[in-house]
Amino acid sequence: MNRADNLRVGFACAYTPLPLLVAAGFAPFRVLPMTEAPDHAGRILHDNLCPHVKSILDRALAGDLPSLAGMVFMNSCDAMRRLYDAWRTVPGNAPAVLIDLPVTADEASSVFFTGELRRLAGVLETWGGRTPGAEELQRGIGVYNALASRLRALTRRVDSGMLADGPALLQETFNLASTSSFDETAAFVQKLLAEPAQERAPDAVPLYLFGNVLPDPEAFRLFAACGARIAASDLCSGTRLFQKVELDAGGDPYAGLAAALLGRKPCARTFDPSRPVRIGEEILDQARAVGARGVIGHTVKFCDPFLARLATVRRTLQEAGMPFLVLEGDCTLRSIGQQRTRIEAFVEMLR
């Protein structure tokens, strides 16, 4: 056994190349913004930075983290870059690396990002990991894909409304998958899939949910309590983190992983320049595909990639006659709980 086996490497963004961490012998550990740590991040980061990154820094400042061999940050946005800066000033924190992330998925970007993944492989070795060659990386991708497939099956089951307390359990599963061993998660998924099917609540209103970070399962219970059924969701703390990586036969797995990550269902920060702010149409298509009667957009406060595009999303949905509710939060149940009346009113309007 390599000395890196069972060591964790932290991460904070859904673009993190989890298969590469696995291939290097590490267990990926998402530093979720769920903590009782005191709010001290403001000492280093400005108040106008998103609560996601500030909660992660709060966890680091309070020592509310497991032992980490290292921490991988993706250059996904300004706030994440500043978090990387701040992370390295906290005494005792694990070493960190910032991996650059193109905003487009064209060929040149993929080649560049492939280079970044190779650089990350070198860094992982310095943290005590294996140096993944093509075969090891393919194996890592295989392990990741196996879990992604199971999670996809569970997601389908939950989206159909046939699993009691499904959306909250699904979020618990995603949290488990991003903080525990893949084997443990796989067993948990199997258990859930074996649960007897429930009748779909007849009067629950099907909604489509998109946004960024919403890891608290209780938030999903709140939606259900307000009369909503989340018919599908697209969150970076949920489905966006586990999307199957398809490789070309015989191709370089690093290049394949880079292309897959850039080409996956995107966060608002990644886009196709030939179809600017297409995110609105994509949300509309997805909402219609699952028969949603309305859309909820949940973003953490001060998230520039989403803030800058929500107006266009709103206009697109409005023009299509798709009702839309925007919720801004701070990654805590408290903030979303304050929105309960708005969610209830929105659901009531759609009945």
Binding site: A79, V103, A308, L310, A311, T312
Partner: protein
């Protein structure tokens, strides 16, 4: 809409504004026998750029901050970073109308006002329709997002320059190739080719500005500084728009000559200069009395702004794309905060500043996110930092009394410290 807002409604009114501004400055310079302050020559170039942007005659590109403007100038494309419009609207006192327009469309008030005002201006037809848009991934996510929104609003083609975080590995050739493709993209959509000889002349002009501008900055370091707080306001970032042109050389020469003369005659920019300040990131773009207050009541001068520096080397005319790539990467807002702090420390030492002011523009994540670490970094070299909480564009949020009180307290503290 108020009277000023009406004045700016529509791109044709903007054209008129810049044209009148240009004609007024031209007339003033002629009346003075060709003599003019360097700031007036700088403002004339700003007016000329504004007039060209709104003329409806030029091929036009709205860009991100670190686009290669000298290359675009060489192609005959009038180009500008969009934040320029936000700053201009703020300076004319009309920005509120456009920010409100953006707010009504659902753009968050937590976003940067430079960008909200630009979006509002576009929706109010106060931004000319471009032929192309060129987004840059640096300095900020918000700036890139506004370019993406404008591309959709105008239904015009968009090209993205991904600016790597540093020059390591193959980053320079990667960006240089993107700039080559960008030039082809611009040609495809404007019909304007990139003539190699014109590019060479443009790069040579850029290098000339680099040489003269370096002397300007060297002179500005003199104690007392020949610069007033206003002289070099926005200078470094706006001069990038003029690069490649003869006008940029004339502006740089005007500053050099004026500063040489002031030093030779023993005149400081601020008579009796007592306190020298470093201003971090952006100035407040709207009119306010605080810089005057600093100068008159405390003999304090803003001797250096963060972006008034050349972080890049002259560009080899035989390898222009690589040089342009290095320059785009070199902006201190790029990469990790260490780069930025090291740059600020360098400036603080070179200019012998007593203290630094960081306005912490509300809505700017990349800039203010580094607030705490910048403060620590400057304190390490004995430079205290005043962090303000302001919106550098939206004058409706400006609380003069509070900002004044904090500045006064800071200045009183600095006066009691030994000179650096």
């Amino acid at each position: 809409m108020d009277k000023k807002g009406m004045r700016f409604r529509g791109a044709s009114m903007m054209f008129q504004f810049f044209q009148e501004m240009e004609q007024g400055i031209d007339a003033s310079i002629r009346a003075g026998g060709g003599h003019a302050s360097p700031r007036k020559r700088y403002t004339l170039e700003v007016a000329r750029l504004g007039r060209r942007l709104y003329s409806g005659r030029d091929k036009l590109a709205w860009c991100g901050v670190v686009a290669p403007f000298d290359l675009l100038n060489a192609m005959g494309v009038t180009s500008c970073f969009v934040e320029f419009v936000g700053a201009m609207l703020a300076s004319t006192g009309t920005v509120g109308t456009f920010i409100e327009a953006a707010d009504h469309l659902g753009y968050s008030s937590d976003a940067c006002s430079f960008h909200r005002s630009v979006l509002g201006a576009a929706m109010q037809n106060a931004m000319p329709v471009p032929d192309v848009l060129i987004g840059t991934t640096n300095p900020c996510s918000g700036g890139l997002a506004v370019i993406e929104n404008l591309a959709r609003h105008f239904s015009k083609p968009l090209f993205i320059l991904h600016i790597p975080q540093d020059e390591s590995g193959g980053n320079v050739p990667y960006l240089a190739d993107q700039i080559r493709r960008m030039a082809r993209f611009v040609t495809d959509h404007t019909g304007l080719p990139l003539d190699q000889e014109r590019l060479r002349r443009s790069i040579e002009n850029t290098n000339r500005v680099h040489a003269i501008g370096s002397e300007v900055y060297e002179l500005a370091r003199h104690v007392p500084s020949p610069a007033t707080s206003r002289d070099l306001n926005n200078f470094g970032i706006v001069m990038a728009l003029f690069l490649g042109s003869e006008g940029a050389i004339e502006v740089a020469e005007a500053y050099r000559d004026a500063f040489r003369e002031r030093i030779a005659s023993g005149k400081g920019g601020v008579p009796g200069e007592k306190v020298r300040l470093l201003w971090i990131q952006n100035r407040m773009q709207f009119r306010h009395p605080l810089e005057k207050m600093l100068e008159e009541e405390y003999r304090a001068s803003i001797v250096i702004d963060e972006l008034n520096d050349f972080n890049w080397n002259p560009i080899d005319p035989d390898e222009p794309f690589e040089g342009l790539a290095r320059r785009s990467i070199a902006i201190p807002f790029n990469g990790t905060v260490e780069t930025r702090v090291a740059h600020l420390q360098k400036l603080a030492r070179q200019y012998k500043v007593h203290g630094a002011v960081n306005p912490c523009n509300w809505g700017c994540r990349q800039g203010t996110g580094a607030r705490g670490l910048i403060e620590v970094g400057l304190k390490e070299i004995g430079v205290p930092v005043l962090n303000l909480e302001v919106d550098c564009v939206d004058d409706r949020k400006f609380t003069e009394g509070q900002v004044r009180t904090r500045l006064e307290a800071f200045l009183e503290m600095l006066e009691s410290r030994p000179s650096p």
